[in-house]
Every structure is written in structure tokens, then in C-alpha cells.
């Protein structure tokens, strides 16, 4: 009897100590006091399911850090942008929501999901650390800031040809048209959502985008559906330079391979952000909130930044919005997470863009 009592007391003390310790460890500084409840509830759910377009290679440290902090399992579905959108939309219609968080680089597609009412509002305690343009009605959160870059082959594209401004880029395409014939690449806006996004951002923010496309078309440039496909061609020398490549990848590749270089234009660098939303009807709603907060926290942002995904904050890691702006020469242009994102979803506007694209390209 006595022994049993002692055991019960001991066990109770251990549990209490354990819980207290966990709570004390996990509630991050500056979070509301009742955040411990969210953590407990999330642990009870035990799992968070994410639909994403981010490679598992880039997201792995974030996922590991989250698991280490809370012991909650993370199921990452790398479905691509269209795949994530398709699955989220279909599952909502079938009333079988499988995702807790949708997190992709397709800002426009996710804004469509938000406008269709498929996102749950949640005021993250991290909002105060984010720029105002990065949060849309507590529904959609920017989680990174990623520039468009030029990727070039250092052996085949002379250093003094590397453009420093947008005007330089057009100039080199025009002046060196013969040597560059068929050797320049860019995104195909007809095939890639990111390509479309960079192109329409350029139309909105610059005056000379169509001159650029004409010069590119005259140099018989080739268009691709992904940054990786362009990298392959630039590495092999089939192309010597590609513009409007995803800059965070370009920087990583240039670091890995001494033959490659990444460059930015100081006067104007367009960007996109990977955006995240909590799914309405998420099977693990508390774990979803916890993960979103973690992704935006300094720990989560640092884990992403260490893997080459620049932090949307200015105070985290070595690669963040402030250091990135220095790196590109001061012309970093954030894309606000707001209704403008779906501007080009309007069929007429979209069709006009494609018409003009083809005309300028001369094909």
C-alpha cells in the first residue's frame, strides 16, 4: 500500500515536472500565456500535413527543427504548385480535407484558394515580426522573399557582359545578338506559374519588359518550364545565360558549381514569396497553427534561410530580406500578399498578356 502510494506520488511528480518543463521550454518568448494550451492540443493531434511545392531538400531542416521542438510528426507532400492547388480544391469539394497547411510558391493560386474560402483565419503571434505587406487578412502569410536572377556560365559568358541593370540586360541581348543566338534562356510564362508571375510583375513594375522580350526573341532565345531545366542547359553550355531564374536556386547553384555565376540588376529585382495558409476544416487545426507560427519564427526562418530560402524577416540568419537587398544592389521589390495577386486571373487580361508575349517574342 505504502509503496504503491509512493509510486503514484512519484509518477505524478514526474509527469508534472515533465509537463511543466515542456511547457516552459516551448512557449516562445513574447507569445501569449495561453499558448501552452495550443501546444498541448497540437501534441494531442500528433501530426501536421502539408501540401507544398518546396523540395524536401530545402524544407528538411525546418521540418526536423519543428519535430525536435514539439515531437509532432510532419507529413510533407511535395505536389508542386498545380498539384497542391488541385488537391486542396478537390478535397474541399469532397469534404475530405487532408491538408493542414498549403505552402507553395504560387501566390496567385493560393490567393484563389483563399478567395474561395478554403483558408482559415489565424492571427499568428509572429505577425509583429513580419513586414505589413506579407500578411493578408490573417489568412495568407508570406514566408520568404525570393528574387529573380541571372544564371550564367562563367566559362562561356564573359564577365564584362554580365548585366548590372535592366537596361544592360536589354543592351547585351541586342549588341551580342549574333554570339548569343540560341544561347539565352528564360522562363516560359505559358508553361510555368513562376514564369508567368515574374513576367507579369515585370509588366507592372517596369516600362521596358516588352523591349526585353523582343530582344530575347530576336536572339532566338529558348523558354523553359523550370529553373532546374535552365540550370542543366547553362551547366552544359548549351545556353550561356538565363534570366528570370529563381534567385535563391541560382545562388545555391553558383556556390556548388564554380562554372556557374548568379547576378542581379541593381535598379530592379522582382521577387515572389512562398505563401502559407491554414486549410479550412484542417484535420489537425492546432498543429497547423503551431507549424505556421514556427515557420515564421526566428528558428523556422533560420532553418529555411540556411537552406537558401531567404527569410522574409530582416532580423534572421545570414540570408534575409535586408541582406538580400544589399546583395542585389538595393532594388529588391517585394510582391505584396493582397488582392492584386489575382489581377491576371481575369481571362481577358491573361489572354492579352499571352498575345503580347507571343508578338514580342516574334513566334
Amino acid at each position: 500500500m505504502k509503496r504503491r502510494q509512493l509510486f503514484t506520488v512519484l509518477a505524478g511528480a514526474l509527469v508534472a515536472a515533465g509537463l511543466g518543463q515542456a511547457a516552459a521550454q516551448s512557449v516562445p518568448a513574447g507569445y501569449p500565456a495561453d499558448y501552452a494550451k495550443l501546444i498541448t492540443a497540437a501534441k494531442g493531434e500528433g501530426k501536421v500535413v502539408i501540401y507544398t511545392s518546396t523540395d524536401s531538400k530545402q524544407s528538411a531542416p525546418l521540418v526536423e527543427a519543428f519535430k525536435a521542438a514539439y515531437g509532432i510528426d510532419v507529413e510533407l507532400n511535395d505536389l508542386g504548385t498545380n498539384g497542391s492547388y488541385n488537391r486542396a480544391l478537390s478535397e474541399a469539394a469532397a469534404k475530405q480535407v487532408g491538408s493542414d497547411i498549403v505552402w507553395t510558391s504560387a501566390m496567385d493560386l493560393q490567393m484563389v484558394l483563399v478567395q474561395k474560402g478554403l483558408a482559415d483565419a489565424y492571427a499568428s503571434p509572429e505577425i509583429k515580426n513580419l513586414p505589413a505587406w506579407a500578411v493578408y487578412k490573417n489568412l495568407l502569410y508570406g514566408t520568404s522573399i525570393e528574387p529573380a536572377a541571372i544564371l550564367y556560365n562563367k566559362k562561356l559568358f564573359p564577365a564584362d557582359w554580365v548585366p548590372k541593370t535592366r537596361a544592360d540586360l536589354i543592351k547585351v541581348l541586342k549588341d551580342k545578338r549574333e554570339p548569343l543566338k540560341g544561347k539565352v534562356a528564360t522562363f516560359d510564362p505559358e508553361k510555368s506559374g513562376t514564369g508567368f508571375f515574374f513576367s507579369t510583375a515585370d509588366v507592372r513594375h517596369t516600362k521596358d519588359f516588352w523591349d526585353l522580350v523582343s530582344a530575347f526573341g530576336a536572339a532566338e532565345g529558348k523558354v523553359y518550364g523550370s529553373s532546374g531545366a535552365m540550370r542543366e542547359k547553362v551547366v552544359s553550355g548549351e545556353h550561356v545565360m538565363a534570366f528570370n531564374v529563381i534567385g535563391s536556386y541560382a545562388l545555391e547553384w553558383a556556390r556548388e558549381n564554380p562554372n556557374l555565376g548568379a547576378a542581379f540588376q541593381s535598379d530592379y529585382t522582382s521577387t515572389f514569396s512562398r505563401v502559407a495558409q491554414i486549410s479550412k476544416g484542417a484535420p489537425h487545426p492546432n498543429a497547423a497553427r503551431l507549424f505556421l507560427d514556427f515557420m515564421l519564427s526566428d528558428k523556422g526562418q533560420k532553418a529555411l534561410s540556411d537552406k537558401g530560402v531567404p527569410s522574409i524577416r530582416a532580423d534572421v540568419g545570414t540570408l534575409n530580406s535586408a541582406t538580400l537587398n544589399q546583395l542585389v544592389g538595393g532594388g529588391l521589390k517585394p510582391t505584396a500578399v493582397d488582392e492584386h495577386l489575382t489581377e491576371y486571373m481575369e481571362p481577358k487580361k491573361r489572354a492579352e498578356f499571352f498575345q503580347q508575349w507571343k508578338k514580342a517574342l516574334g513566334r
Partner: protein, 575 residues
């Protein structure tokens, strides 16, 4: 394939009385109809709506048809597709027929090695093949660089319609070879010998004697490859896309971005169009063979064909021709894949020795999803393949020596899923598993992929099983029937025991088909159900070429294992 079986059934019908397997036939065909027509019907239904079928505001509409029919890009894609498909046939049929002639009717040396080698391109997914060609003969490919350095220029460009046609054609040669070789094998050789001994050259014998006799097989192979040409996705995706060469299957991809969001009704319309184009082909194929006797099984034990003597020079010429074809169709693409899998940079001005690495494999094995993809692919191929053989056997038995109308229905039904682009049929299956209540528990499991694979692989799987079944000579079944056995009993006691070794071979072949599959899983797979082929397609959109190279290499190795197994188990590849 299916049509062969029908022709054979005609032959058998003369002697076999109608049996008592009617209930079995109806049950199997009904089950099959549900499995096939649910996704196909969903696609057709979706094509007549103005929004996603699950959207309550979607109404019946011809809008998507109108959109597609006035879209200049659609017509351009259709024209390109037709050029590609006919070009592919023009390349594949003469080459395949020539190879079949050399390997079956002449005494060319090294047959034992050549025969399986000739089939290799057929077993590789076209994504893997196209990728291998990029590294070998692309603008910065090893062979291209060598050409440029020694001859000052490269006379080809694989990123053109011509390049696609030649590569597509070469990779479809085995499909022609299979049919023509099986027809040629069963030809009596007395006519050829007569021509030869009255002084005709080898060339004349081939053109004037052998070819006319196998004409039905040639036309059949041509129609089949035309159909395959219309469906090709991997080659245009890798080789056509960068230059803006769009075919119908890649047009579907493009439509999504043009609208901003995936536009299911337009995708469905394009899929329906593809079916409308290919169905007449199937019809034509069937008509053609209706009255021509099945060529592979004529006359039971025909006289053993004696081989034409090539002579010394003839042998050298023949072996070099086959060798050249093998070099271009097998060595180049596989060499490209192997190379790319072990280097991190290649092309102009790159010393490969400096870039050797095992990193890509480390990356693949350390990424949980890619590692699971390999495990899942093996599971699907080995276990799923065995289940598939069982199901195909049931279906093949239902169609075996079946002359009735249900045989015709079966033939068309089996080809339906093949005629639809893999991406779209995969999407339809995704919806079926999402919206059909009792199927939803299967969705996050490999069972969903297996069901889709079995349906998509029906035409190929049945062809293999039917060929195996046809090994059983009708006399055996007839004797059982005459002595009073039911059809069920005949199958159980006579047919299945005889074909048991054939089933093992069929299993190995289906394994290869499942390893090769890539389009079907693109929308269907999720965390935990990744497969190599579909992973490659999705990696292609993010452009992780290192991982694609390693996965391609692994896929080639798995295929080689499967093929080795198939040969050991005595698969009837040659039927």
C-alpha cells in the same frame, strides 16, 4: 493484340461448341466495365461542363469544346501530333520489319544475345530515354561535342520535330519487331527457298516474298504505333517543350497555365478528342484482321522454317546494321543516363573526370520521399505485378475463344484507358478515390495506384496473357470438351496448368511495365505513395536534374533485373 485473339477465336469457333462459361464472362466483363468506365465516364462528363464537376455552380456546356476548337494552339498541336505519329511509324515500321527479317529468317549470328537486346528500348520509359538522349546527343551532348570538335559541326538537333520523330521512331522499333517477327516465325520457308534457288537476291526475297506474306502484321503494327504516337508524352515533354513544339498531350499541360488555374473541362475535352482520333484506328485495325487468319498460330505444327543463308559478307553487313541500330537505340540513351547519374556537370569545356560523384545517389537515398518512391516502385512492380497477372488472366480467360459480341466490347474497352493521356486518367482516378465513398480509404495507399496501373496497363497485360493462352493448342481443349468437361474445368485442369510457366514470364513483363509507368501517378501519388516514374515528372517541373538522373539510373537497373527475370522465367516476349 486483342484483335489477334479475336481472329484466333474465329478459327476456334469452327470447332468449339458454345460453352457454359457465360456467367463467368458476364461477371468479369461487368467488373472490368465498372473499373474502366468510371474514370473514362468521369472525363467525358467533365468535358461537357463549364467548371470542375465537383463545383456546384458548374453547368452543362459546350464551352470547353468551343474553346478548344477555335484555339489556334490546339490545331497546331494536333498537326504536330499527326506529323509526329506518322513520322514515327515511317521510321519504326521499316526498321522493325528489317530487324525481324534478319533475326527470324536468316542465319545472322548471335541471335541469342541480339533478340533480347533489340527489345530494350520498349522497356524504358520515354522520359528516361529522352533524358538519356539529351546527355548523349543533345546540343552539348558528349557525341555532339566530339562531332563538333572533329567535323566542325553537328548535323542534327534533337530539340526539333525531326529529332523527336527519329527518337520516337527508334524507340518504337521493338513494337513493330514483336508483331512482324511473330508473323515471320510462323511462315513456311519453302517460298523463300524457291525464290532464292531461282537466283533472287536476299533483298528481292525480302521485298517480293516475305513482306507480302506478313503484310497484315505490318499494317497492324503500323496502326498500333500510330496510336502510341498520338499518346506519347515523355519525348515531347523533354525534347519538344524547350523549343515550343507542343503536341496534344503537352498541350493539356499548357492549358492550365494559360488559364491560371487547372482547367479540368478543357483538359477533359482534349482527352476526349484524343479518344475520338484513336478509336477509328482501333476499328480499322480490327476490320483489317477480321478475315485474315491469325498468323502466329496457323496450322498447328507447321514445317520447321529453314533459315536463309546470308553468306560471309552478308553476315558482316547484317551484324553491322543491327549493331548500328543497337548503338543508337540502346547504347546512346543508356550511356547518357549512366554518365549523368555519376557526374555533377557535363558538356562544353567540362572535364568529366573532375566531376565524378556519388552525390546524386546520396541525395536520393537521404530524401525520404525519393527513397520511399524506390521502395514503392519495387513493391508495386513485384507484388502488384503478381496481382495484375491474376486479374489479367481472368479477363483473358473471359475473352478466350470468345466469339460473341462481348469479345468486341472487351476489345474496345481495354483500349480506352490507353487512348487517354496518362496524366488525365490518373487525375480521374484521383477523383474516383476521393468522391466514391467506399473507395476513400484506399486513396492514401498504394492500392489506389495499383488499381489505376492495372486499368491503364490492361491492353498490354492482356496482350501478354492472350499470347500465353494461345500457346495451348485448341485440340487439347477440344478433347477435354468432347469427353464432357465444362469450360471451367477445361481451364482449371488443362489450360492453366499448361500456361503456368508462361504466367511467371508474364509477371516479369508486367513488372517492367509498372516500373516504366510515369504519367498515371502524377496526380494520384501523395506522401507515402510516391513512385519513381511520377517523381521524375514532378522533379522535372522543379528541375532537380541530379535526382532525376539518379532515379533514371535506378529505374534502368530495376528494368534490367526485371528483364533478366523475364528471360529466365521464359517469358513469351516473342508472341
Amino acid at each position: 493484340m486483342a484483335a489477334d485473339a479475336t481472329a484466333a477465336a474465329h478459327l476456334a469457333a469452327v470447332t468449339t461448341r458454345p460453352g457454359n462459361a457465360g456467367a463467368f464472362r458476364i461477371a468479369v466483363i461487368t467488373a472490368l466495365a465498372i473499373a474502366v468506365m468510371t474514370p473514362v465516364g468521369l472525363i467525358v462528363y467533365q468535358s461537357f461542363l463549364d467548371g470542375p464537376f465537383f463545383d456546384e455552380s458548374a453547368k452543362a456546356s459546350l464551352w470547353a469544346f468551343k474553346y478548344v476548337l477555335v484555339d489556334a494552339d490546339f490545331w497546331r498541336a494536333l498537326r504536330t501530333t499527326a506529323l509526329f505519329a506518322f513520322g514515327l511509324v515511317a521510321v519504326a515500321v521499316p526498321l522493325g520489319a528489317g530487324l525481324a527479317f534478319l533475326l527470324t529468317r536468316t542465319d545472322i549470328p548471335g541471335k541469342a544475345i541480339l533478340e533480347p537486346l533489340v527489345l530494350v528500348p520498349m522497356f524504358l520509359s520515354s522520359i528516361v530515354l529522352a533524358f538519356g538522349y539529351t546527355v548523349a546527343v543533345g546540343p552539348s551532348g558528349l557525341v555532339s561535342i566530339w562531332f563538333r570538335e572533329t567535323l566542325g559541326g553537328v548535323p542534327w538537333n534533337i530539340y526539333s520535330l525531326w529529332g523527336m520523330i527519329v527518337i520516337g521512331g527508334l524507340s518504337h522499333v521493338p513494337n513493330v519487331y514483336l508483331y512482324v517477327a511473330s508473323a515471320m516465325r510462323s511462315l513456311p520457308s519453302d517460298l523463300e527457298e524457291a525464290a532464292r534457288s531461282s537466283g533472287a537476291s536476299m533483298w528481292r526475297v525480302l521485298l517480293d516474298v516475305t513482306l507480302p506474306m506478313v503484310l497484315p502484321a505490318l499494317i497492324f503494327a503500323a496502326a498500333l504505333n500510330l496510336l502510341l504516337g498520338f499518346e506519347t508524352f515523355g519525348i515531347p515533354l523533354v525534347l519538344g517543350d524547350p523549343n515550343g513544339i507542343v503536341v496534344l498531350t503537352t498541350y493539356i499541360y499548357k492549358v492550365s497555365t494559360v488559364f491560371g488555374t487547372p482547367t479540368y473541362h478543357v483538359m477533359a475535352v482534349v482527352a476526349v478528342m484524343l479518344v475520338l482520333i484513336t478509336l477509328p484506328l482501333v476499328f480499322f485495325q480490327r476490320r483489317l484482321l477480321r478475315h485474315s487468319r491469325r498468323f502466329a498460330a496457323v496450322g498447328g505444327k507447321g514445317a520447321r522454317a529453314s533459315l536463309l543463308k546470308l553468306g560471309r559478307t552478308g553476315k558482316i553487313v547484317a551484324v553491322s546494321l543491327v549493331g548500328a541500330w543497337l548503338f543508337v537505340s540502346v547504347v546512346l540513351p543508356i550511356g547518357g543516363i549512366v554518365l549523368r547519374a555519376f557526374v555533377d556537370a557535363w558538356g562544353e569545356g567540362v572535364n568529366l573526370a573532375d566531376h565524378l560523384t556519388l552525390d546524386h545517389f546520396r541525395k536520393v537515398l537521404s530524401e525520404a520521399s525519393l527513397y520511399r518512391g524506390i521502395v514503392n516502385t519495387v513493391l508495386l512492380a513485384v507484388i502488384g505485378g503478381a496481382i495484375a497477372v491474376g486479374i489479367y488472366l481472368l479477363v483473358a480467360l473471359a475473352g478466350h475463344r470468345n466469339t460473341g459480341r462481348s469479345g468486341t466490347v472487351l476489345d474496345y474497352m481495354v483500349l480506352m484507358p490507353r487512348a487517354l493521356p496518362g496524366i488525365v486518367i490518373g487525375l480521374a482516378f484521383f477523383w474516383v478515390f476521393l468522391f466514391v465513398p467506399f473507395l476513400t480509404p484506399l486513396r492514401p495507399t498504394l492500392a489506389s495506384l495499383l488499381i489505376a496501373y492495372i486499368v491503364v496497363g490492361l491492353s498490354y497485360g492482356l496482350r501478354i496473357l492472350q499470347a500465353t493462352l494461345l500457346q495451348v493448342s485448341p485440340e487439347l481443349e477440344e478433347s477435354a470438351r468432347v469427353t464432357g468437361a465444362s469450360i471451367g474445368r477445361t481451364w482449371r485442369d488443362i489450360v492453366i496448368p499448361i500456361i503456368r510457366p508462361g504466367l511467371a514470364g508474364a509477371w516479369a513483363l508486367i513488372m517492367i511495365v509498372f516500373i516504366r509507368e510515369y504519367a498515371t501517378g502524377v496526380y494520384l501519388m501523395g506522401a507515402g505513395t510516391e513512385v519513381i516514374g511520377s517523381l521524375m515528372v514532378s522533379l522535372l517541373t522543379s528541375g532537380a536534374m541530379d535526382q532525376i538522373a539518379a532515379l533514371s539510373f535506378i529505374s534502368v537497373v530495376l528494368t534490367a533485373v526485371g528483364l533478366g527475370l523475364a528471360l529466365r522465367l521464359g517469358a513469351r516476349i516473342h508472341d
